[in-house]
Symmetry: C2
Subunit: 193 residues, 2 copies
């Protein structure tokens, strides 16, 4: 199962490092072969600077990554991404081919702008609920939830809620037992909504 | 206040990205000037690959960083660090000059090996409690705590407990109000021990 996390300049650090930690820890705790191949995907090759001045090196860019089974789009200062036709087209195409699609925090705006969330019940960071509601009136935006699971599409609340959602995805894609072992390994109090 | 986070090959991703998120988010929520300058310090210049294949670019190496007021040493696959005389000497020297010293997860082994924890009450990841106890019999190693505060020295439990401890450090160094605002911004359920 290939987990591709889309990141960009000024993405929120915990939005992508939290899910990365969950899926790679789940891999370590598996008895047999690797459950998840996890990689970071950026618009272009080269280092990316996340919010607060945190420079990292994505594994792939949007032109050369392996097939993605689970696409995760993260939040942060997401507004520039909403203006990029090539990124939105890539998100739409990749989401269509993926088995599952998820967002963390304001990553929901990117999925919405790419047309991936049409008609869905979704959530985002508590500070951005009204904005998401007003910007995309076809969505049912709910608050006070760690994540909203619409089957193939799952959206989470802000920042650390992406960890809770990722544990839910491990549970859904693999087993509740592995998700609970992962949370315990991370010493994380998993809030199951 | 300069917060220097010591990282290395195969450090645990959330051990450093969690505290980085806490201190940079606290900065954003401050009304006036920057409260914390946060940076990652490695043994040498160049990219570092954290556990699970996560490549990032530390701000400084141990020869060229600014003065450190709060030194945080993180965990992960820490055993190689225990063999490096230059790193242990740097940790000892930097800890001596710092106002405060903290560890996340198995970072406690590095502080202990550098002689920084002598006689302290400390904690680490639940899986490593016995090992820490046996390796450094002069320490009082406690379990079941998110962090142990010895005044100038604070050690946390595993991985995500580093986030709880970092919020505690924001509270201690700045204000409880700012720490609570930061936790809320991160949508993190702060466990205050």
């Amino acid at each position: 199962m290939n987990v591709g996390i889309y990141i960009y300049e000024n993405a929120e650090v915990l939005d992508f490092s939290g899910p990365f930690e969950v899926f790679t820890t789940a891999n370590r705790l598996r008895d047999t072969e690797q459950a998840f191949k996890v990689f970071l995907v950026a618009e272009q090759a080269g280092p990316v600077c996340a919010r607060g001045g945190y420079s990292f090196n994505p594994h792939y860019d949007i032109t050369n990554h392996p097939d993605i089974d689970l696409l995760i789009v993260v939040g942060g200062v997401h507004t520039e991404e909403l203006k990029k036709a090539n990124v939105l087209q890539w998100v739409a195409d990749t989401a269509e081919k993926a088995r599952m699609v998820a967002s963390v925090c304001t990553g929901a705006f990117i999925l919405a702008e790419a047309g991936v969330l049409a008609g869905c019940q979704v959530t985002t960071h508590w500070e951005d609920i009204d904005d998401l509601r007003q910007s995309y009136p076809d969505l049912t935006v709910v608050e006070g939830r760690r994540w909203v699971d619409e089957g193939r599409i799952v959206t989470s609340g802000g920042i650390s809620a992406g960890i809770d959602m990722s544990l839910h995805l491990v549970s859904k894609l693999f087993s509740l037992e592995l998700a609970e072992k992962t949370a315990r390994q991370m010493e994380f109090d998993w809030r199951k909504n």
